[in-house]
Symmetry: C2
């Protein structure tokens, strides 16, 4: 595991600049060969617009959280501007910080959060909850028109492990905990959450819940929303405390209405999650498949047999050949087939039993075991792709990802049509790579990475590709997002996905708990 | 498995009178010894009030579904009066059919359901969706005041298997299918749903979804709500079609807002469920535990190790001793301990592997294997308890059940306090039995059965006990219902469980999709 995250990410790049690595010379040459060379350095020294919040309003905030926790300096506001999608980075690199909040407020605890929301409701100030700032769907770019100002509600002070129940195997966590911080607190009890999305080093517990995150170990530990058994949330008009039991028949499951609500219904102030014993043994290995179809069918067989490794992922032919996560391998063998990674975590016995059973199935279906080396290599680089994106953006390469999910019988169509949409939009010389990294009995996710030579206006270039891909997803009956949430970017397709009555239901809940519409205005709700 | 269900249940009793068995003479003696003897035969010949729906309104319904599918005769309306809780039966046995609908309408398909709801919305007619009629929480006893009338929307004509996807392992079912009918259609494809609540022979697919049902094989197949990957529903103001993918991050999971909505938000017109291959092998066996605590801890160990049989249930000391499901065994050994039933379904290899692993764990924790006889006996009688209740009601014994769920660390307190509340309320000579029949990593259900000599007013007697038990559940932080839904009976405690903001959220959704409030008025929404 990497060193613990820095508290703040660079405003124009992913993560900790000290952890970033330049492209090696050999990779630079290949990138230049593939996409040409155009230096696109980031603009430096840009600042956000002056804070528009009147002093009398700031005073009210200071009374709630203490003056030292209401920040209006440019540097702090810059660091709370938008998230980390490629469009976000392109805007930041161009020096555009127009979406900066007017102030950053840092409440400590449920009561202070509730008080900030009541204050914002009274004064018609928009509030954007902020956890790790890793959003890639525009979920931090709330509308400010019609409001007296916009504040970033930073959960950075809410980093406690509130309770551990080792009989029920649950833990209650505050929302500001970053992934590694939560794991460190749990590790002191010999426990783990097992939630490792690519954003793990920076993303927060509250963000995992509010966006229905899914991690790289979802085959073994499940999605984050499946781990949540209880939560508390503050809304501008009252508080929620849900989770009387693991599951029940007491009406609709309101936890599932808060999970994925992206700060539009309330601010999640704690989550009670199912935890597991920290694994004694962790091992990752590679398998080669002759085709994406063959590997995908094998994943389906495992999922439907209830025989799941902890990590299960499969790259398509393009992604296997390119392996963007390690540019030094660009090129590769003539016919690398498709690379699958299987990972096992648990007691030595659990790992041995599951690994043997899975391996028997995979061998029987035509997979070729590659040993642990490809698995360990994947594991070492599992959180690094966003750094690589920065390096490629510097070189004038447009890099971005998008993802979806569908039922198994629709997987082949969805893969082909989204791929085709992206390729057509981005044109000759662009790369479209895909992997499956989350599987269910009835279906799977598809995660696409694209790389193309940046056009004059890379933002417009990407928007066109994104529209084409999103239209293809909805046309194929798939979801607009398996684990990146709706934000502002996905709203038009989200509305199609849930339909007019679904949209009206969400609007009704929003209007009830947030009648002034101050919570993340313009995010999620179509 | 028993013969297929009759289309209609007796209006004053459970199920098919032909399938009912009287208490054997030996049992009668013991029941008389325990509770005394008082014949309480049901009143015969009672009829419902005349239909209050004006002819001009009935004409509108007839235009939608055809005249032969609008029924107003007394016999049909009697059969759609309330559900099958003991209070429901006591009222029916006393000849009280005042809650009978004014008409029974039988639409065929989503469009006709939607048209009926639009008609009802326009004419302010209350609508009670009707599936199997097995509700035990007053969910069929809607309010009629303020409405032009009340119709029972009977889903009996919607019994099709609409689609099977053997790649994704999903099936799309219409809501009127009873449990055995759905299984028979799936069996033709070698598939099974694996959902066997005690009401299985009569309850419907739509009811399973609308009430978040959980079946006796939930350890292996999961709760019904966990099986649902998609659904369509008609509301008075539009239709819903949800389920783009097995799971996703596209906002709150609206499927989870319809599941458990008990007909208050809309009528579920189809569900797409995850299915499994029909098992090659099915075996049930018994285990003896020295105490409920020891057996319960063993269940927790299995659940937290991810090592689950298909069926896993445990009776407490009282239930083991009495074994109400088979009165001939009342008495039993001096110290029978606690009986656990484990069931295994799957391929021969799956059953052998899981059974061996589970047995090793159970033996290691102090369980004593009793072989298959107790398991097979349980399996034979698994749907029979409601018939026994009728026989006991005839003898003047009050019999009813209630259930809850909590986290493992709270299991002992909840068991003790609900038991104490029931015992105190029902007084000396009453029996309070309990079992765990649904387990999760983080907690379990508790299902109580009570028997007592009927007081002069058995309805008031039971209501007092129910209030005491429900208060105890909420005081212990548990749910008011693990798998019987809210109906009208649980509303006061449900409101406490989800809190004021939760109630407001549900009311807001209801007001949005059903502004005239015609859908199951008074049910679910506090």
């Amino acid at each position: 595991m990497r060193p613990s995250p820095t508290a703040e990410m660079h405003p124009q790049r992913w993560g900790d600049p000290a952890a970033a690595t330049d492209l090696p010379e050999s990779a630079l040459g290949l990138v230049e060969l593939a996409f040409g060379r155009q230096d696109r350095p980031a603009t430096s020294g840009a600042t956000p617009p002056a804070s528009a919040l009147p002093a009398r309003l700031l005073e009210g905030l200071r009374e709630i959280v203490g003056p030292e926790h209401v920040l209006v300096d440019d540097a702090t506001r810059t660091l709370r501007t938008r998230g980390k999608s490629t469009p976000d980075l392109l805007r930041a690199r161009a020096g555009d910080f127009t979406d900066a909040p007017d102030a950053v407020v840092r409440p400590d605890g449920h009561v202070e959060v509730a008080d900030v929301l009541a204050w914002a409701h009274e004064h018609r100030v928009a509030v954007v909850p902020f956890g790790g700032g890793t959003c890639v769907t525009g979920g931090l770019a709330a509308r400010r028109d019609g409001f007296a100002g916009l504040v970033s509600l930073d959960l950075v002070r809410m980093k406690r492990l509130l309770a551990v129940d080792e009989v029920s195997m649950t833990a209650t966590l505050q929302p500001g905990l970053r992934g590694p911080e939560a794991e460190a607190l749990l590790a002191a009890h010999g426990l783990t959450l097992g939630h490792y999305p690519q954003s793990y080093l920076h993303a927060s517990i509250g963000g995992f819940a509010a966006t229905r995150s899914s991690g790289q170990s979802s085959a073994g530990y499940g999605r984050f929303d499946a781990m949540v058994v209880g939560l508390t949330a503050a809304t501008p008009t009252g508080s929620l405390d849900l989770g009387s039991s693991p599951a029940n028949a007491a009406g609709p499951d309101l936890r599932q209405l808060l999970l994925g609500s992206e700060g539009a219904f309330g601010v999640i102030t704690s989550v009670t999650v199912r935890v597991r014993r920290a694994p004694e043994v962790t091992t990752y290995e590679g398998w080669r498949w002759p085709s994406f179809d063959a590997g995908s069918d094998a994943m389906r067989t495992l999922a439907q047999a209830g025989l799941m490794p902890t990590v299960l992922r499969l790259s398509d032919e393009s992604e296997t050949a390119i392996n963007l996560a390690d540019p030094s391998s660009i090129g590769g063998a003539d016919d690398p087939g498709c690379l699958m990674i299987t990972g096992y975590e648990g007691t030595a016995e659990q790992v041995a039993v599951t690994r043997a059973a899975v391996s028997t199935v995979l061998e029987g279906l035509g997979g070729t075991g590659l040993g642990t080396e490809p698995g360990e290599k994947w594991s070492r680089g599992r959180f690094d792709a966003p750094y690589l994106r920065d390096a490629l953006l510097d070189q004038g390469v447009l890099v971005e990802t998008l993802e979806t999910a569908t039922f198994w019988s629709n997987r082949r169509r969805l893969h082909a049509e989204v791929r085709e949409a992206l390729q057509s939009s981005l044109g000759d010389g662009s790369l479209v790579l895909c992997h499956i990294s989350h599987v269910y009995e009835t279906g799977c996710s598809l995660y696409f990475t694209v790389a193309a030579r940046q056009a004059e206006d890379p933002l417009a270039q990407w928007q066109a590709a994104k529209v084409a891909a999103s239209d293809a997803m909805i046309a194929a009956g798939a979801t607009i997002t398996h684990h990146h949430a709706v934000g502002t970017d996905h709203k038009p397709w989200f509305a199609q996905e849930i339909g007019e009555v679904g949209v009206r239901m969400l609007r009704a809940v929003k209007a009830e708990v947030d009648p002034a519409g101050i919570l993340n205005p313009g995010v999620l709700i179509p």
